[in-house]
Amino acid sequence: MKYTSCSFHDVSERQKQHMARGLPKQKPIAGVKQVIVVASGKGGVGKSTTAVNLALGLTANDPSKTVGILDADVYGPSVPKLMNLKGNPELTDSNLMRPLTNFGIPCMSMGFLVEDVAPIVWRGLMVMSAIEKLLRQVDWGLLDYLVIDMPPGTGDVQLSITQNIPIAGAVIVSTPQDIALLDARRGAEMFKKVNVPVLGLVQNMSVFQCPKCNHQTHIFGDDGARALAETLGVKVLGDIPLHLSIREMSDRGQPVVVASPDSPEAEAYRRVAAAVVQRLEELSG
């Protein structure tokens, strides 16, 4: 056996090359100008409802903008229900999946590819390849913004997406309670680790107003998101109140921004959309 001696420099260079080979290169999605991810850390805080109404808020504020929604929550895809969309996507001549459109917003979701009751029982590796398909094999056309509804947590899906495509910014949704905020903070930390700018926090289910006596109750705690936002050095993009109509309309597949555009809830979402656009401009300028 012949051993060649190598300098420490050579070894570390080789290591660097090896490590660089391991990570996929970030490649933008064809035709999509800016990607906004909506994440939370904790489940059940209203991420998908926020993502859907954010997308609609963006077009409501500026009808010249084209916006799409990618539902990356492969285990619990809610976008089809929220956007009142059903069916299997058609394939174009170039074998890309055609998104399903409602309210002027093209959407793609794992929910269109599997049965209503089928669980996605996949380990990380299969999920990665499914995400790859949802990112690259969809005929999005030209979009100003692609809003990605992320699953809860800080695992494979989040890593796969952030490593694969350049992301303009992340919106983190939380309810006011500490337990949710702790997970939101983990989510924010994760984005920091992968160099995705956090555009800000959305404090969801902030306050409930009794329809009978108008008494306000902070069911999930009091304004906790503001304190977290300060600690993280990010803005609060908006507060969305707990209102029966949001849930009622969501269940019917009528997002509140289109179903009830003059309501204070719709206004709250449009304000979040405006804040998102402003933050994106601040970051790029």
Binding site: G41, K42, G43, G44, S48, T49, Y75, G76, S78, K81, L82, D116, V117, A118, P119, I120, V121, W122, R123, G124, L125, V127, P151, P152, G153, T154, G155, D156, Q158, L159, Q177, D178, I179, L182, D183, R185, R186, G187, E189, M190, K193, F208, C210, P211, K212, C213, H215, T217, H218, I219, F220, G221, L242, L244, R247, E248, S250, D251
Partner: protein, 226 residues
Amino acid sequence: MVGILDVDLCGPSIPRMLGVGRQEVHQCDSGWVPVYTDAQKSLALMSIGFLLEDPDEAVVWRGPKKTALIGQFVSDVAWGELDVLLVDTPPGTSDEHLAVLENLKKQHKVDGAILVTTPQAVSTGDVRREITFCKKTGLSILGIVENMSGFVCPHCSECSNIFSKGGGEELAKLTGSIYLGAVPLDPLLCTSIEEGKDFIQTFPDSATFSAINIIAQTLLTCLQNS
């Protein structure tokens, strides 16, 4: 004697909810010692929250690493004699769920799963998938709990169904599962959990407590009968 295994690795909430947020895990001859919430050792707990230097740190792991740790949680924790081991899983049907089932089945009989849903369609829709997951993996369903079912205004007592109502019960009927009961939206329960206080000790007369009690009793009866 009850144990709680928290396999929500990305969002371990249980230590905080039980007021044991900053505890460390010690080793003994038979393995890792679980954290006990009181001197009587009536509730034993294991969570990744205890193993992190900063319990609020983000755990950004891919599947295989999660699976390995969960395997250790199941086999290397010295639980001692337990009547019931409750496993808190993250949302979804992924690595954590597969890992905990596979590892538990190696050494124990898994009595079943409790499914928690809020009443609205987006939630019951996801839980339907969980039900199919249980059926496919041969995990029997002990019952369905409808959480955040109705909110009673503290001012005028008007009940508002913020997240709808009855979705959980409907789901149970639809899938032939037992309906364990409903828990209302209660800001007092929320605050207790936030502060790591024992809600059952602090508010024994509340409607929420009696709702949770009914669920626990029904569950115990199911377990004894099976």
